[in-house]
């Protein structure tokens, strides 16, 4: 090996090692290292379906006012202009109203999918979107198991919009607008561990009124939005097939393999090249 090829080999190896190190330094964001994330408990047995939360959400976030009357026959989904919706389900326990919005996962798929860290899990709990970082690739929409992030397809300067758990209000010490405006007190806001205790307290104190499951306690690794219900959750439009693995773990093995490939493959290829060299390199041959 002459001097030049030795230097070349060294450079390739160093470059690979550097790139590899950078990509390796990427343990998924530890949830709420700074303290307990906040959570919201929704008791669907209490919700009366008045949709005050929809109006409060629109007012607090500067969104267009939701329709005055809605046809509960059809199931609505959240949209870029309406971040929470209330749907009605006919069940064995009668009419049940369920509001849907971003679940604010403890380890969000959207945030780990985001290559610019525009989707960001705050230590306080809310998952927020940051306009100055997002490039609009919509990978968060592909990854989110709850189909929450919505994209402004009709804008030349589109944003990703979804519930922010009233992040700005939390910073000022207030509770989210929907919590503050719920006349039935169907939603409770507080530290997540307390909300889980509250949920199980209600189940134990009234075991016949609830299914013994807190949706969001473990789903997709746990969410900051928790639900209680009187009927199985699949009857209320919830996906119950999501499992308890945090979604970022689905790509973790692949990402862990990256530094190994980056550092192992180049030396292997160079060795292979050296081993299969059966003649002097011929400059004119290219």
């Amino acid at each position: 090996m002459d001097r030049r090829s030795a230097v070349r080999t060294l450079c390739v190896a160093t470059g690979s090692a550097l790139v590899g190190r950078k990509l390796n330094a990427q343990e998924a964001d530890a949830p709420a290292a700074a303290g307990e994330p906040m959570a919201i408990l929704v008791d669907t047995t209490v919700c009366g379906g008045c949709r005050e939360c929809e109006f409060a959400c629109a007012a607090a976030n500067g969104l267009p006012e939701p329709p005055e009357e809605v046809d509960f026959q059809e199931t609505r989904t959240t949209s870029e202009s309406q971040w929470t919706v209330v749907n009605r389900y006919q069940t064995d326990a009668g009419e049940v109203f369920v509001r849907r919005q971003c679940m604010h996962c403890l380890r969000p798929a959207c945030a780990s999918a985001c290559l610019t860290r525009a989707m960001y899990k705050t230590p306080e709990g809310p998952v927020v979107w940051r306009e100055d970082k997002c490039m609009g690739c919509r990978f968060c929409m592909i990854s989110c198991p709850f189909d929450v992030p919505k994209f402004e397809y009709d804008s030349a300067n589109p944003r990703i919009l979804k519930c922010r758990m009233c992040w700005e209000r939390l910073e000022q010490g207030e509770v989210p607008a929907c919590v503050a405006n719920c006349p039935y007190e169907a939603v409770t806001f507080g530290p997540r561990s307390e909300m889980i205790e509250l949920a199980w307290k209600r189940i134990y104190e009234n075991p016949d009124a609830y299914v013994h499951h807190v949706y969001g306690e473990h789903e997709a690794g746990g969410t900051s939005w928790l639900y209680l219900a009187a009927v199985p959750f699949e009857e209320l439009g919830f996906r119950t097939d999501l499992g308890t693995t945090p979604y970022p773990d689905l790509t973790r093995e692949f990402l862990y393999a990256v530094p190994f490939v980056l550092t192992m493959v180049p030396p292997f290829l160079l060795a292979l090249n050296r081993a299969s060299a059966n003649r002097e390199p011929d400059e004119s041959e290219e």
Binding site: S16, F139, T251
Partner: protein, 430 residues
Amino acid sequence: MERDPVAAESRRTAPSPSIVLRELGRFVRFMLGEMRPRGRLLTPFNVLTGAIVLVTIGLLVIRFTHGLGSITNLSQDSPWGLWIGFDVITGVAFAGGAYVLSFIVYVLGQERYRPIARVTILNGFLAYVFYAGALLLDLGRPWKVVNPIIGNSFGVSSVMFLVAWHFLLYMIAEFVEFSPTIAEWAGWPRLRRRLHALTLGAVVFGITLSILHQSGLGALFLMARDKIHPLWYSQFIPILFFVSSIFAGLSMVIFEGTITHKVFHERVGDRLEQTYPDILTGLARICAATMFVYLFLQLLVFVHGQRWTYMRTGWGAWYLLEMAGLVALPIALFLHGHVRRNLAVIRAAAILTLAGIVLNRLNVSVIAYKWYAPVPYVPSWQEVVVTLGVISAEIWVFRWIVNRMPVLDRALPSPAPRARGRAVPAPATR
């Protein structure tokens, strides 16, 4: 990184500034001469692709002033459509031929394939520039595209971050691999020698990057576990994407070569002309072998995922079409073509293989994604036209380069640098 030793050397033997300036002036005049179109302009192909490109430009103006929704059928349920599923994800698989062939030629030293190395690397480079570049059209906020590269916004836990970086680095690596050809064309033998010295480093780096981002494109869908039909989702998508990119790329080399050899007949050098049948039969054998590995992996995934429960549905038939009709059948055809040295059969196999790759990538990214959605995504005509426009523009650039640079043949025998611009015989442009 790899540049350092060369930079050090060039400082030692750097030509004086005045020579560089004079050389630059010569190159500008040479370049102006080369920019002129050759041959007839008003051919049916030019008129058709010209119209498509013009319409594409118009559509893109609308897209960038009124948003993606103005010309695409993308929706909240289908965030990625034809532009990502076909242009980027399928296009990059098709461009895999460059890393596979550079592995065969530059790492393994299989001289037999060297005559097609340049054209394959050129194709790979242009495919990345245009098809990965088409990503910019699909980004909602493309002016933020530099964020993960130079900003402080490193989303290192994102597969997309890896893919973005690798696209960029791989384009640079492929440009370095192709650069000796440019230096030959421009008449810079000394620079050509230096660039040539970088080739192995660029090849090794490029192969490593390709392994990672070909599989990374599959890894993008790992978190869509509960949205992709179970016949197409598995945790092995990255490996399947990587293995299939090998024969997807080589099939594209076969397919593209078929067209290139007809269209650029005058540009094909003697050496390539004589050995081309050998090259094709060799590629056919490699394709068959890697496709067999791929089929076996798919079979493992099929059994492991207990997928037979889905086979009685319409999706099962669709899956069977992809696996039996567009993977197993081409294997047989490739083998037949290889044994009987039947180039027509090999070409047919390559086309079937390419169709299978299109189907596979679109199934994972678009068709079987949200397969339960009430309104399935169908691309709008505008999305199709823009895709054709991107392909047309790529073909124009490819043609311009092939007609001028020593891509399909070796460098012309020692033309005097100053006279080179005129020394190249003007081929008929179609």
